[in-house]
Symmetry: C2
Subunit: 236 residues, 2 copies
């Protein structure tokens, strides 16, 4: 107690994750109940309808949150990046499935113990509260996207979003390149489309010169202005 765990001291997201709100003392309280866990691509941390027994901070990798209709149609309702909080601390039963899109590293806490620490540390609780509000805003933007944007706008907007949150290489002539953590089916599930429609929209963006695809899972943004147009205009 009182001594910051070595894992925390060297943690890559020490000052982006919730932990940033904690003093060294508090951090050790949290560190005491946390353990590191790795998820391989495709593995799930928790299933919708199953027990909500853990929460976590995401250290590295990308995690998807999905819901499904009872006849199997799936919708990805959000993506989580390093530093983001994972889980549903106040729910006994999970309403979402949390699955790893890439190999991922998490700092996992038993849910009930985590809730206990939340109750004792107001700054921690407050920070999570604020983040939840931000998540709501994001969710509502996603609703506008799903309900009112065309396939072209969805794909272009999604690529822009990814370029803002993913590690990118910036080329000499201003070309930004990044690796997609999702395959086409998963992109389709994020956007409420089908694999084929996503594929067609990507080739369309290639044809107009907005992007290039050096590899299946590589996106190079050649003309960000053009991409922005496609993300926002009704017909472009």
């Amino acid at each position: 107690m009182g001594i910051v765990d070595e894992r925390c001291a060297t943690c890559l997201v020490r000052d982006q994750a919730l932990c940033a709100s904690l003093s060294d003392d508090e951090l050790s309280a949290l560190g005491d109940i946390g353990r590191t866990r790795f998820l391989a691509r495709g593995q799930a941390l928790m299933w919708a309808g199953g027990e909500s027994d853990v929460c976590a901070n995401l250290i590295s990798g990308v995690i998807q949150m999905t819901v499904a209709t009872n006849d199997g149609r799936e919708q990805i309702v959000g993506l989580l990046f390093p530093g983001d909080f994972v889980g549903q601390p106040f729910a006994a039963e999970a309403s979402l499935t949390f699955g790893a899109l890439t190999d991922a590293q998490l700092c996992v806490y038993p849910r009930k113990a985590f809730v206990g620490i939340l109750a004792e540390h107001a700054p921690l609780e407050r920070l999570l509260f604020h983040r939840t509000m931000a998540a709501l805003d994001e969710a509502r933007a996603r609703m506008l996207m799903l309900g009112r944007r065309s396939a072209g706008e969805k794909v272009a907007g999604f690529l822009i979003e990814l370029s803002e949150r993913l590690p990118c290489r910036r080329d000499l002539d201003g070309v930004t390149t990044f690796e997609l953590p999702l395959d086409r089916a998963q992109i389709a599930d994020v956007l409420g489309l089908t694999i084929e429609t996503v594929s067609r929209q990507i080739t369309k963006l290639k044809d107009v010169g907005a992007i290039a695809t050096p590899g299946r899972r590589t996106i190079a943004v050649r003309d960000m202005g053009l991409l922005l147009n496609h993300a926002d205009a009704a017909h472009a």
Copy 2:
């Protein structure tokens, strides 16, 4: 101070709204900064992009939260009913427009003063936190609806949702009747559809005998089982 406001003592949502978490002492602190406000149908409390200067508890009526693309397409991202909390306490600028679907009565607080009280009263803060989490769950269910459900499923599901949250008359033969607080255009904005498609789906539900429409804005659920089928089956 220390004396519960008369408005609070007689408040219709005293034990459903956030206030339920407060002792009499705390309640008076909140009551001191609150004032009653009426909105006529169509009036807005706050605009997206404008200043977020107030929060409120909804006493009576129904309020819609909307977002829009910059070329004017609109999406309703949530509805608020009596007892629900209204506003974005931590945002300086509103990201949503809050508009009254029916005449509404609110208990309004200046945002900054409200945040101050939040910080001083942990139970209040905690309750709002939990409600925000619940709102996130609702938002995600709505995403599944927008992204993956057909027009028929959307309309049927929406009518069921309303029948659960709106005051209803229950008939002798088990027919449930309620008044729509929204016109067809607003229903379309909730569901990510057009007026015409909503209208067609409603007449379809009438034709199969699931519902009846005694008036423009009146829905009578004649066969809830049938309605549930349409809300969930891919083709029914």
